[in-house]
Every structure is written in C-alpha cells, then in structure tokens.
C-alpha cells in the first residue's frame, strides 16, 4: 500500500473511529475528494494518486460503522454528479461501482464544494441535532477559487463544522493549514492519528492539567458570570442555516471582531479579502448593460442617419 493510501485510509478511519467514542451512531462526515487533473499524477512508480485514493476510500468505507453517515463529494463531477457517494448511510452494494467510476480531471473548485458539503452537514444536523459533523478535505493542491474558500471558511466554522485537511504529497502546507482544526500531510500517519485523536473532547477536570498547573476552575475564576452565561448561550445556539457568503463576509469595523482590521496578527483567523462579485446576477447586470448600451448606440446611430 502506498504511503498516500495508508495515510488517507488511516486519516479517514481515525476520523471515524475517534468520533464513535462519543456517539457511535451519529458520526457524519463529508469527504471532499480532490479529483482534479493533478491527481492523475503518479504517487509512486506503479500507482497514480487517484488510484491510491480510490483504494483508500474503499477500505475506509468498508470499515466505517454501519450507523455512520458518510458522503464523498468530488471537486469535479463524476458520472453520477458531484456526489460520488451521497451523504447518508453507506450503500455497500453500490460502493464498488461508485468508487470504480472515479476519474481525475478538471480544476480544484474547493470553495464551492466546501459550501455544498457544509450545507449538507448542516441540514443533517438540523434533523439529527446530536453527533459529530466533520468535513475532511483530501487534496494535492491549492483551490482554484481561493476567494470563495476564504469567504465560506469563517461561516462554516462559526456553525461548528469541524474541518480537517489532508494535504496529499504537497511540497508546502495547504493554505488552510493554519485555519482549520487539523492539517496533516498524507505521509505522516502517526501525527495525523494524534491530531485527530485530540479532537475527542472531555467535560471538565478537577486536577491541574495544563502546563501551568492550573485547574479548569482557576482558569475560569476571573471570567464574569454574565459573560459565561452569554457565551454558553451563544455557543449552544450555533446555526444550521445554509452557508451564505454575504452573511459573514462584510467586515465589521465597529466590533472587536478578528475579522476586522483590528484582528491581532497572530490570531490565526484570517481576514477574508474583499468580495469579488461572481454571482449570476452580476453577469446578468453586465448583459443588461451591454444590451442597453447597444440599444442607445443604435438609436443614436439611427438618429444621426435620419438627420442625414
């Protein structure tokens, strides 16, 4: 087994495995799988990256708990569309056929697919409430729509969707490396295991458990009660509404938000770049403008012609 295959396989299995500790029947994962043209590249002498990914997927999906809900979303549509495997209970009978149909071609529209994946997970969380909701991005390159990635990332995270990234054979860290829950290169299965294992969270500790030897209660003591209550209310009211890029996009200068220009340099919470309007409405507006301009020009031309 190639290192890539092993890493992806271990990554997925750990993602699934650690989650089952808390609520085995309620693991919900969307794997965003890079099937762009670059994945045709060879992983080693005998196996391409995409073939290694297919083998890894088969193994992981085969071993995933029957009660989990897993979906595999492609960056570029396959024969069945964007979803190689729709988010839901795994249909093992059709698994082989689905994965076999996977091919690599196209670019890396990661931002657009992050929204699709997040919306699917949020819809599921709205219905199920409980469980763990994760997005696992497996990619060998940077997004071809980096602005969208930056636009969607904060609102996805603000809704409590955990994003893990596995960079496949990347020379540098993926640009999401500093902004997501975990990032590991695919050739580092051991540290990947530890990073995902750290996602398993506890409740509270009475004994000192940090480097400074402080108990949780000592850390909390100076937090005002009202702030604690309001913070809990805000945390427990995480929205399941679909991701809207405009909603979280406008920088708020009036607040202390790290989104704004006052965000500390070391916050790790990247301020998104100014929005670039790529919506169909804008294109429509341009067309309307061209049409009006052409009509005016024709009228002017006709007027001039008549004056002659």
């Amino acid at each position: 087994m190639s290192r890539l295959l092993m890493s992806v396989c271990v990554g997925l299995m750990l993602t699934i495995g650690t989650s089952t500790l808390h609520a085995s029947r309620q693991l919900n994962v969307v794997v965003i799988l890079d099937n762009s043209g670059s994945m045709k590249g060879m992983m080693n002498r005998s196996e391409s990256k995409i073939d290694a990914a297919k083998s890894a997927l088969m193994q992981v999906l085969d071993k995933s708990p029957a009660t989990s809900q897993v979906g595999v979303l492609l960056l570029n549509p396959g024969p069945q569309g964007d979803w190689l495997i729709p988010l839901g209970p795994i249909d093992r009978a059709n698994l082989q056929r689905s994965v076999a149909s996977l091919d690599a071609d196209g670019n890396t529209p990661l931002g657009a697919k992050m929204k699709v994946a997040a919306d699917a997970l949020l819809q599921l969380r709205e219905a199920n409430r409980y469980g763990t909701y994760k997005m696992l991005i497996v990619s060998d390159g940077e997004a071809s729509d980096p602005d969208l990635v930056q636009q969607y990332l904060p609102s996805i995270q603000a809704r409590g969707i955990l994003i893990d990234v596995i960079g496949v054979n990347m020379a540098q860290k993926h640009s999401l490396a500093t902004q997501t829950s975990t990032y590991r290169n695919a050739n580092d299965p051991n540290s990947l295991a530890k990073a995902i294992g750290d996602v398993v969270l506890g409740e509270s500790s009475a004994s000192p458990d940090d480097a400074a030897g402080q108990t949780d209660f000592e850390v909390l003591a100076a937090l005002p009660d009202q702030v604690a209550m309001a913070s809990l209310a805000a945390l427990t009211a995480a929205s399941n509404d679909p991701i809207e890029k405009s909603q979280d996009w406008v920088p708020d200068e009036s607040s202390t938000s790290s989104h704004g220009s006052s965000a500390p340099a070391n916050s790790g919470h990247r301020s998104p770049p100014p929005p670039k309007d790529k919506s169909p409405i804008s294109m429509f507006q341009i067309l309307v403008f061209i049409f009006i301009f052409a009509a005016i020009a024709r009228a002017v031309f006709a007027n001039l012609k008549s004056k002659r």
Binding site: Q214, A228, S257, G268
Partner: protein, 612 residues
C-alpha cells in the same frame, strides 16, 4: 373532546355529612352500620354512577331494568340499576344487604375499606375494572407550573378538593409524583364534586386557594380548555391552567365494581355473567363511540344509547347527545379484556391490583379515613372462560412494549409541557448507572411511566460547561482575542478591541457574543463549538445509558414498561445549574440526568397503551 363535556353537574353528593375542612374516619361519616344478608328476591340492585364507563352497563342491561333481548337478559340475569352517586348511601346499602355490589373508584373503596372490610361477609371482592379516567384535572393559578411547585417555603399551597370523592386519589398520586404528602400542602376539603359547593367555585371565589381538583366542565369553565389559560373573561379565572390531568395521568383513577364476599361465594356464576356481559357491551359501545368520533355520523344504535344515558343522568347533566353525552364517553378509557387481565393478573404491573390496593390503603390510613388496613380480594377469574362467555377474543396483555419514542429536543417547549421532574447526579465521565446507587430513582421513573400513561418520561442528560468555557478562554488567548494578566488566583481577562484592551466584564458581553457567533474562536484543533457538540453527544449518551439501565432493571424485576414512553434527550451544556462552576462540587451539580414527565398529545395514545 374537551369543549364538549358539561356532564356531571349534579354528581356525587358524597360525604354529605362530612366536615368540610377536616378529615374524618369513614366510619364516623357513615355512623354505626349493621351487616345484613343480601336481599335475594327479585332483581339484584346494582349501583351506577355518572360516568362514561357506566354507559356500557346500561347497554348490556338494555336500560335500568334488564330487558330480555339485552346482553344480560340473554344470559339470564335480572338486574335493577340504581343511582349510586351518593357513595355513603351505597356503602350503607351494601352493608345493609340492599345490594351486593359497590361501584366507585378504587381509591373511594379504599377510603371506605375499614368500614366495608370489618366483617368477613362484606369484605369486597373486586370483580372488574371498568375504565381509567381521562376527564379529571388539577387546575392551578399562574405561578404553579409543575407539581414540584406544590411545595413552597413559607406558606403552604392550598388545594381545594371534594372530601372523599374520586379526586382524593388523583391528588394523592399527583403529590406522590413530586414525592410530597398531604403534610406538604393544605388541602381544603369541599362538600361537592361540582356546583356551588364544589372545588371550582371555591377556587373562583377564594383567591387564597392555589389549586383545585375538578371535572372537565369545571376545568373548561376555569381555564377555557385543557391547553388554555384563563383570561378572566367569560367566567374563567385569569392565569388558571391545567397543572395535571388524567389525560396524561391515565392510570390514576381506576373505576371498579366490587361485590360482597358472601355474595361472591354463593353467586359466582352470576358475577361472572355480569363481568362477561359488561366486557361484551364495552366492545360494542367502544366501536359505536369511535365510529362516531371518526365519521361524525351517529348510528341509530349509538343515538339510542346516548339518549338512554341522557334520560338516566338527566338532561341538566347531559344537555346534548353529540357533545355532552358523547363527551362523557370520550372521557373514559375502557380497559377491555386485556386491560382486565393486566390489572388483576399481570405481575409487574405497577398500576395493577396490588400496587393500587397498597396505594389506596396508604391513602386511607395516612389521610385519616381509616385506622387499620383492611384490604380487598381480587376475583381470581379464569379470563379464558370470561372471554368465551363474553364472545370476545382472548388476548394477552402486553408486557414490555417497544415503540418509537416521541421526538423533541431540549427547549422545544419542554418547560411548558413538563408536569413534574426530578434529578439524579453522577460523576465526571460516568457511564455506569448501577441499580445499587440509582435503584430508587429507577423505581420512581418506572412508577411515573406507569401512572402517567399518557405522558412521556423524558430522560434528559446534562453536561458541565467548564471545559467549553475554559477552551473559549484558552483559544481566545492563543488567537490573541483575549489577554490575561495577573498571577494564578488573581487573573484578569481583557478583550482586544479597536480601542485597545478592555476588561472582560458585563459591558463586553455583547462583543464576546459577537466574536463567538462570528466563529472567531474556531478553526483550531481546540474548538469551543466542538467541545460543546461533544458535550451534547455525551449528555445524550448518558441519557441513553440511563434508559438502558432502567430497561434492564425493569426486565430483571419483571416490571412492565412502555419503552416508547422513555425518551432520552441530550441537553449538553445548554441548561447548567451553575453557569460558571468554581469547584468540582459545583461542576457536579451540572452533571446530571433529569427525569421529566412531559405531556403528550392524547391522540398519540393507542388502545394498547391501556393493556397494562
């Protein structure tokens, strides 16, 4: 069905000589009684009371006097049905031999137990359960939200209730559900069940009365409806609402027939015919009632039955057939043959004969109706034989019923629908809920599930928010959103703002909330939102574990339980007792599983819910 019933307007003149404001031994109410042999010539007198369950008796008998073509007539019985709403008079007639039968609720018989059980000849044999009530209610003022509120510091809650009537048992069960007794409240006994001297009028005219036990028409008159609150208009009392109802407390008030022990010994075959005929009548009456409810088309046979009820109970009690007479029948849940078997024979039925007898005698002795515990006997019928005589299919009652649970999430009106609640606590990361430690709570939950047959027992897990809050601070500090100064034990937190660092105090709460909502604390491997979600999952896992432990406990003890009533929910950190614990002891107060008895729509219930 709730707006339809204006029956029972002149019902149950019980305890007419009783002292309104104090309890009295039942023997003192009846005075000295001589036991005489049962009159054994002519038709047998059988008392009835104003209740929907008695309509099946009329139907089986063909009216007050047995008609030849009726169910009882064909089986050779000759009965004369007589008004028995005056229960004291019933007891006098029973002891004096005018009738071998007693008709009442199990608890009313319990209150009279010392009198009727003092002579072996009159010791009651309970021969049949007719129905469970779904038409009795405790109405309270606005400030009383759940049964837990019936106990308060300082001034006792005052509850108006008819002395010795069917509501005494309801009140006893309601208090027991909150682990209270009559010592914890002030019961103001009134003379009548309804009318000028009833509990509803007392509640309406005396503002010091906090709650009252009433029948459906009075409940509607005070509140406007079972799910409404009075506005003060049209005779309602502002803020008055149903605190608990037998629509949810479906196994509280059991209507029964008893016969004298000496009569049973000498007339067992007749008694069997009486029971079999009633069961046969029940099947047909239920079908007619349910058909009308479904189609709104009244068959001539059902119209005839309702007209008969109207004639017997009086037009002032049942002014209309479609609303009042039909509503009277809707307010009772006929138990049928499986429910009969479950009540008398099924072991592990927490609402069966033995538990009800114990509760009835507890009530009688603790509340001052009796000094000694004189019990009753069950008839001990062969129900296969009874089924054959009745011409109904013999069906064993269910035991542990598996079904879909209700679906509701914390906060989805759970508070407003909660009838009563209690809590168990546990240790951090605890997953084992042993019988040794939690057996009494499991018993209480099972008893609640049984008594509140029309309610869900929500098992609501909670998690402590300490870790989530700590993570919020530590992630905030890592990201530079929060700055901490000072030494251990004397920390101060500051929020980074455009205007520099501002101390994290009450004024900074909106800014902190905005940061959380924007996702500013997310994105790292330590995620407060993920910790919150993990706590939510953990709280559900604990609730599910508790349900599993209760189920195993019930199975081991042979207790019947309707699993669809037990609904595990996870509340996570959303509703902590202490938002910011300062010690593990305070954190443990948050680590708890709460049992809530929650109202469900009566339409969600099925007939089989009453099989055990």
């Amino acid at each position: 069905m709730f707006g339809k019933v204006s029956w029972l307007l002149a019902l149950c003149v019980l305890f007419t000589t009783s002292n309104v404001h104090s309890q009295e031994l039942f023997s003192g109410i009846t005075g000295p009684l001589d036991v005489k042999e049962v009159q054994n010539s002519g038709p047998v007198n059988v008392p009835y009371i104003t209740w929907g369950g008695d309509a099946a008796t009329f139907y089986a008998n063909g009216g007050l006097d047995t008609t030849p073509d009726s169910i009882y007539g064909k089986s050779g019985l000759k009965l004369k049905l007589t008004a028995g709403d005056d229960f004291v008079q019933q007891v006098k007639d029973y002891m004096g031999g005018k009738s071998p039968y007693l008709r009442g609720t199990f608890r009313m018989l319990g209150q009279a137990s010392e009198v009727i059980g003092s002579d072996p000849r009159t010791k009651p044999v309970i021969i049949m359960q007719l129905s469970w009530s779904a038409g009795d209610h405790i109405v309270s003022r606005k400030e009383l939200k759940t049964l837990n509120d019936l106990k308060r510091e300082g001034k006792k809650v005052k509850i108006a209730c008819q002395q010795g009537g069917p509501h005494v048992g309801l009140l006893y069960d309601a208090l027991a559900a909150a682990q209270l007794t009559n010592e914890d409240v002030e019961i103001v006994f009134v003379k009548d069940l309804t009318g000028p001297d009833g509990a509803a009028e007392k509640f309406r005219t005396d503002s010091s009365i906090d709650a009252c036990c009433v029948i459906t028409p009075d409940m509607i008159g005070l509140t406007g409806g079972v799910d409404s609150a009075g506005t003060g208009a049209e005779g309602t009392v502002e803020g008055a609402h149903v605190l608990v109802s037998t629509q949810n407390m479906t196994r509280s008030i059991a209507d029964v027939y008893a016969v004298r022990s000496d009569w049973y010994k000498s007339h067992r075959e007749e008694v069997e015919k009486f029971v079999a005929g009633y069961l046969k009548g029940t099947v047909e009456v239920k079908k007619m009632r349910d058909d009308f409810e479904k189609t709104q088309r009244m068959s001539s046979e059902y119209r005839q039955l309702l007209t008969s009820c109207q004639k017997i109970f009086g037009e002032e009690v049942l002014p209309t057939l479609e609303v009042d007479a039909h509503g009277l029948l809707l307010d009772c849940n006929f138990v049928g043959l499986p429910g009969q078997i479950a009540f008398f024979n099924q072991s592990g039925n927490l609402s069966g004969f033995q538990p009800k007898l114990t509760a009835a005698l507890d009530l009688a002795t603790k509340w001052g109706y009796a000094k000694t515990r004189k019990g009753f006997d069950p008839a001990g019928f062969d129900y296969k034989k009874i089924a054959s005589m009745a011409g109904v299919e013999y069906v064993e009652p269910q035991r542990i019923v598996k079904g879909e649970s209700i679906t509701a999430f914390p906060g989805d009106d759970l508070d407003s629908d909660t009838i009563v609640s209690f809590t168990i606590s546990f240790e951090p990361n605890q997953t084992d809920f042993s019988v040794d430690r939690y057996g009494s709570e499991f018993d209480r939950a099972l008893q609640a599930a049984s008594t509140f047959g029309g309610a869900a027992v929500v098992i609501r897990g909670h998690a402590d928010p300490t870790k989530t809050l700590v993570q919020l601070l530590t992630v905030g500090m890592k990201k530079g959103l929060i700055v901490r100064t000072g030494q251990k034990g004397q920390y101060k937190y500051y929020l980074k703002t455009q205007n520099g660092n501002q101390e994290l105090d009450l004024n900074q709460t909106p800014a902190m909330v905005k940061l959380i909502e924007s996702g500013a604390f997310e994105g790292a491997s330590d995620s407060p939102l993920q910790t919150m979600q993990a706590a939510l999952n953990l709280s559900l896992a604990r609730a599910e574990q508790v349900k599993q432990s209760i189920t195993q406990y019930a199975e081991q003890r042979g207790v019947n339980v309707n699993l669809s009533q037990l609904q595990p929910l996870g509340a996570g950190i959303s509703d902590p007792v202490i938002s910011k614990p300062s010690s593990i002891a305070e954190a443990k107060q948050n680590m708890r599983v709460e049992f809530r008895i929650v109202k469900v729509n009566p339409e969600d219930l099925s007939e089989t819910d009453f099989d055990f």
